[in-house]
Point group: C2
Chain length 227, copies 2
Amino acid sequence: MSTTAVEVVPYDRAMEETAEAGEGESRAERKERTRRAILDAALALAADSNLAAISLRQVAKQVGVVPTAFYRHFGSLELLGLALVDESFRSLRLMLLDVWRHAPEYRDFIDGSLPIVAQHVRENRSHYAFIARERTAGPPRVREAIRHEIELITRELATDIARSGAAEHYSSKDIGLLADLIVSFVVTMAERLVEDPDSEERILADARTQLRMLLVGALGWRSTGRT
Amino acid sequence: MSTTAVEVVPYDRAMEETAEAGEGESRAERKERTRRAILDAALALAADSNLAAISLRQVAKQVGVVPTAFYRHFGSLELLGLALVDESFRSLRLMLLDVWRHAPEYRDFIDGSLPIVAQHVRENRSHYAFIARERTAGPPRVREAIRHEIELITRELATDIARSGAAEHYSSKDIGLLADLIVSFVVTMAERLVEDPDSEERILADARTQLRMLLVGALGWRSTGRT
DNA sequence: CCTTTGAGTGAACGTCTGTTCACTCAACTA
DNA sequence: TAGTTGAGTGAACAGACGTTCACTCAAAGG
């Protein structure tokens, strides 16, 4: 049906014609359904290159809608990209709440958290792939939005580390640097899981060892500054 | 002159008309000069988005040459991208030789190496920006080429660590993981230097602290496996 | 019931895309 | 000096691009 290699759940606009179903959708429901279809189509099309390289018309064709209809939902591909960033991180934050709730201690942090992150990447591969690509190659505003979200997460991890008391002898600045080190490492790990999902087991095992190396060192570290 | 915001040293094809100069260029010299101009133009144009989002015609216009002429030098933008990867890493490897020659010991490794890397990023910003973007968002073959180059560097670092004897109690597998950890970290640092060159000083200071945290831990680490 | 609203339509526009082809004409070679 | 080579030309192509505009026609609402 599609001329590209991308496979997407077709947007069934003729739903109300499916014989049996008597009840239709509300206006708002239909709009939301089209919006979702556009987001999914863009996500799928960008997966073969990136957001800046796809066209509004490709997205519209993938959705099964005329190009003009796109503008009823997004002012531009860039704004669509910002919506995808938002959507991706909303899910990610929920997952992190889970991680931080179940792993207050550091030994647990590694063995308990990494598999949860890996599972979330597995279940949201297209979103993580989107973030990994657009983080460095997206339109400037999209890049900035992603950078900001990651920074927020880093800050949350920092306060969590401070609260846990695992790094009592750290200055607050150094706690921030440690949090940044960990987040950067996990970002790299997520990139690898996205790039090669079949090697999840090995990637995860290696990451666990590396995170232990890192934290064993971090816990032995002593800040030289104050506060 | 150009319709885009990109500013590039114009490719002076009318050089032989500059009055005084009597001696011309050889055929091969002219070809090489055009090739260079194409590489530089692509690097500059891709900086505003990415390789997959620019067109052969934009590159040709930027160079000041007819679109067809492009094919005399590269079969496609993807092959041009591979040439840029090659060029970027050739320079990078020379820099690393310098680093490894001057910093055989770990304390020196941090204080001696990071500034050299930072300087190289500063002097080759466009190449590093290209690598940072195309590493995750480029055409598959370009991504693969970059991944391979980074893996080679990781292996070299691993043998260097092993040779230095700084991690005698490590299994060879764990030395590889440590090298990977360090390389990943430096890649992240380079990304940041590229993204925000004005903050070089802060980025470098933070990275130094983080690398110390990491290595202090790594040196206290003890492998549990064999070999 | 009659009016308003707004998601989706379809044609049209000027511009840009990759690629082909036959060509020129200066540098090289024999 | 005569002949070959090959980097760069310029026209032409069929198609895709973003954006505009006036439009339809069900659902929503008074």
